[in-house]
């Protein structure tokens, strides 16, 4: 692939890349917003005569971004969403220009897209280019709107899913979506929420989360992570937040979530996963070990316990957990609720298969 990333564009993406590398942007929503703003800048700054050049450029930028934070799937998601947007735009324009009859969906699935031919066709005028540019940027603006208002769509379902005096359990106190979901549900329902501590990585967040819930007059009980099995027999529903959802219906979440959902399965307790649409990814979790990020082991065993540290072979402090689709009953997204087995369809609606691999 020719090196299309010029110095100018490099200077735009570099600050974001380095802050991603340093984990300075935390929170999935913030990352998604930062990436989409960045892509907007890149598209307006880039010079291109052929929309396929733009696609190549965005793909390359996407590669750089996802290698900056390889275990965050969201960066890739946003890049792919933008690519799908551009491709859609090209397609409609192409259809208008060529007036070719619509191909059947089956046919287009099987045919190989030959970009080279298209490239010949798409020697477009400058005016068309600037039109396309503004359309794409408007599309990204819509995406930004969607990401920032993701909770609204999810919240509306809360009343349908929670009944009065129910006991809920959530093992993901880092998720703002879960918090908003519960607060919204409180307006109509009275219920109790058990919050796990998520020691050691998110204990502070867990306590703040519990505090916020309590301030919204939700009966909140903070429980240690080990207590999950003991209390599961009393829990009506488990609600988890997710950091990424794969096409197979599995998802990534905080460490400790997978044993909670396993417990829920054992007790036949339904599990809801909340996920904004931008968290859905067209990827499949083939190598699960690579998905899990490992954090500071000093959080599990203090470094000042040098005698222990010296004698212990390994200390693990995983930050994430992969949850297989069998453990989740329903995904609640801002476009509705879906069974895990149906996620691949939603993914197909939003992404183009050509972009599954960015490199």
């Amino acid at each position: 692939m020719p090196n299309t990333v010029t110095g100018e564009i490099r200077s735009i993406i570099d600050p974001v890349v380095s802050s991603l590398k340093r984990h300075q942007i935390e929170g999935d929503k913030d990352i998604a917003l930062a990436i989409s703003h960045l892509l907007m800048k890149v598209i307006s700054a880039a010079r291109w005569t052929n929309p396929y050049d733009l696609i190549d450029l965005i793909r390359e930028v996407g590669t750089i971004l996802s290698s900056a934070y390889p275990r965050k799937i969201i960066t890739g998601n946003v890049v792919r969403r933008v690519l799908a947007l551009i491709r859609d735009e090209i397609e409609t324009e192409h259809n208008e220009n060529a007036n070719t009859p619509m191909m059947s969906s089956m046919f287009s699935l099987l045919s190989t897209s030959n970009n080279e031919n298209h490239k010949e066709l798409h020697k477009q005028s400058k005016k068309q280019m600037s039109d396309l540019r503004s359309i794409i940027i408007q599309g990204i603006r819509d995406l930004v709107d969607e990401i920032s208002n993701v909770n609204d769509g999810i919240e509306t379902m809360s009343v349908d899913l929670i009944h009065d005096n129910e006991i809920l359990l959530t093992p993901t106190p880092t998720s703002d979506t879960v918090l908003q979901f519960l607060i919204k549900a409180r307006a109509k329902r009275k219920f109790t929420v058990l919050v796990t501590e998520s020691f050691p990585n998110y204990i502070k967040e867990a306590q703040n989360f519990a505090k916020k819930l309590a301030e919204h007059k939700i009966e909140t009980i903070l429980v240690p992570d080990s207590t999950v099995y003991a209390v599961m027999s009393r829990v009506g529903k488990v609600i988890i937040g997710s950091s990424a959802v794969f096409a197979n219906g599995g998802c990534m979440s905080n460490s400790g979530v997978s044993h909670v959902v396993e417990c829920a399965k054992e007790h036949r307790t339904p599990v809801f996963a909340l996920a904004g649409l931008y968290k859905l990814s067209p990827l499949y979790p083939f190598t699960r070990d690579d998905l899990i990020e490992v954090g500071n082991s000093g959080k599990a065993l203090n470094y000042d316990d040098f005698k222990l540290v010296d004698n212990v072979e390994l200390v693990t402090n995983a930050l994430d957990d992969y949850i297989s689709p069998d453990y989740i009953d329903i995904y609640i997204t801002n476009v509705g609720g879906f069974a895990p087995s149906f996620i691949y369809r939603i993914v197909l609606d939003n992404y183009k298969t050509e972009d599954n691999t960015l490199e």
Binding site: F199, P200, A214, D225, A230, R234, I292, A318
Partner: protein
């Protein structure tokens, strides 16, 4: 009861004075009316006061009736007093328990427990009974109670062992009071000690079993035995019990369980168990095995860390002779080769319970779990988190073994962890959230005292400068925000909808457990009632 009696007795001599006239029938209602008018005067007349008033009325009526028969008010007063004295004299040791129930410390704005767990006894409730009998409690028991409540001694076996050792001291220092025999009186004496011991933490199943045994032994002593001799035999019996039921049993269990640890295997364990710690040491030191050990740990007690420390402090001489930690100093002087067993033979992998599920379970060969008790329906009652680990290992086809002395077998049945459990202090979960150490606890009495002092200070402040306080309130949000950073829930007790649950145990269903290793052999969990029956017969 005593208090009420006193009130009526006060009422009695007063009331007759009022109605000493012949118009007794009219005056009594008058007094009642008086009371009623009082009630309307200050509306804050509580229920209790109303009751008192009614009692006075009744007493007045009765006194009037008695007077009519011919008993003077002075005599009545005397009668009442003598009754009270009788009551007081009967408040001996047997009545202490009743008193205990009455001297509950009032919940000082304490947190109620969430509804689903409200049946569990809180630490405050447990501690409420302690002060009134502390004068007849042996000092050794006092110190033991303190060690229990501060988790200095934790785990079923160490608690049992320490209790029996302390009972030996108690029995040695015991002197039979006059007019009674050791067989009859010692049991009661011990009961008080146990009552106090319970205020630290509830008795474990094994402790309950041992106490039952000891009481039986005491009752078996014939009345004719001399006190000194009886005490000696009891102490001997306790020694035998410790040796037989704990130490030798442990040894047998270890020998049996060590067959499951092979060279190069990966073993997973949760928390700390006395017998498992010995098992791992035995496998390395005596049997020269090399294996990987995954230690899973959880908040707030961090018992896995204790296991880790104990293993790291155990030294081993690869030339053949095993050396215990006790002889560490001698070992280091004799041979340079002595080194911690964790250096080469025991590869330890330490994880917290949350990281467990990711990838660690993939290459575990066998799981060893400690036990607090085995219940009669085959369920394992153990440290909270055990059930979770057993479930996950069961789902991955990893055999789950538990090592449990028969002393821990109980004829209780229980179906879920919520119905019976021990509630630990909620503050353990809030204080020092990043310390990664077991909670450092003050004794309950000290906490109460500090609280009282603070309250007094506060009330003084309020009296002194109300205006200033308002100013302080206005300026307070800033330091609050700072406190948020370290512990967001520092003042969780003031947040009305927030609760914290800190339970100690959970229940593992028998399906998850492949094998229970006891000194009587290795059995499936379904054999627990069989063992109980056999054990009772012998």
């Amino acid at each position: 009861m005593v208090e009420e009696q006193a009130q009526t007795s006060q009422a009695k001599p007063q009331a007759p004075a009022q109605v000493s006239d012949s118009q007794k029938a009219e005056k009594a209602p008058a007094a009642a009316a008086d009371g009623a008018s009082k009630g309307s005067d200050d509306k804050k007349l509580s229920n209790k006061e109303m009751k008192e008033l009614k009692k006075k009325e009744k007493a007045a009526k009765r006194a009037a009736q008695k007077e009519a028969i011919g008993i003077s008010p002075e005599q009545q007063a005397k009668n009442a007093e003598s009754k009270i004295e009788k009551k007081k004299s009967s408040a001996t040791n047997t009545n202490l328990k009743k008193q205990l129930d009455q001297t509950l410390i009032k919940d000082q704005g304490g947190k109620r427990i969430p509804a689903i767990f409200s049946h569990l006894e809180t630490r405050e409730q447990r501690n409420a009974s302690s002060p009134s009998i502390s004068h007849i409690v042996h000092p050794a028991i006092l110190s033991l109670t303190l060690k229990y409540s501060t988790y200095k001694i934790v785990g079923s076996t160490p608690r049992l062992k320490n209790m029996l050792e302390v009972f030996k001291v108690v029995i040695r220092d015991y002197e039979t009071p006059a007019n009674t025999t050791l067989t009859r009186h010692l049991t009661g004496h011990l009961s008080h000690q146990i009552e106090y011991l319970k205020t630290g933490r509830p008795l474990s199943i094994s402790m309950g079993n041992a106490i039952r045994w000891l009481k039986q032994e005491i009752s078996h002593i014939s009345i004719d035995t001399k006190e000194q001799q009886a005490k000696e035999t009891l102490c001997e019996k306790i020694d035998d019990f410790i040796k037989e039921k704990i130490e030798l049993s442990g040894q047998v269990i270890i020998e049996n369980a060590s067959k499951h640890i092979t060279d190069g295997s990966t073993i997973l364990t949760y928390g700390h168990s006395e017998v498992l710690e010995k098992l791992f040491k035995y496998c390395v030191i005596e049997q020269n095995k090399k294996f990987n050990l995954i230690v899973v740990d959880s908040r707030p007690l961090f018992e896995g860390k204790r296991l880790l420390t104990n293993l790291v402090n155990t030294n081993y001489n690869p030339d053949g002779e095993g050396l215990d930690s006790e002889v560490e100093s001698i070992a280091s002087s004799r041979s340079i080769k002595s080194q911690p067993i964790t250096h080469e033979n025991l590869k330890i992998h330490y994880v917290l319970i949350n990281s467990l599920s990711s990838t660690i379970l993939e290459d575990v060969d066998c799981v060893f779990l400690g036990a607090h008790a085995m219940l009669s329906n085959g369920r394992l009652y153990s440290r909270v988190g055990t059930g979770l680990i057993a479930m996950m290992c069961h789902a991955r086809n990893i055999p789950v073994l538990t090592c449990c002395e028969s002393v821990k077998f109980s004829d209780k049945v229980q179906l879920d962890s919520v119905t019976t459990n021990e509630l630990a202090d909620c503050d353990d979960l809030v204080q020092d959230i990043n310390s990664k150490k077991p909670p450092q606890k003050k004794s309950f009495a000290l906490e109460q005292f500090i609280k009282q002092c603070e309250e007094e200070k506060e009330s003084k402040n309020k009296n002194n400068n109300k205006g200033k306080q308002q100013q302080q309130k206005k300026s307070s949000p800033e330091p609050d925000a700072q406190a948020d950073d370290s512990t967001p829930l520092k003042d969780w007790k003031n947040i009305s909808h927030l609760n914290i649950l800190n339970i100690m145990y959970d229940l593992t269903p028998p399906e998850y457990i492949k094998k229970v290793v006891t000194e009587l052999g290795a059995l499936p969990p379904s054999a627990v009632p069989v063992i109980l029956r056999e054990y009772k017969n012998t």
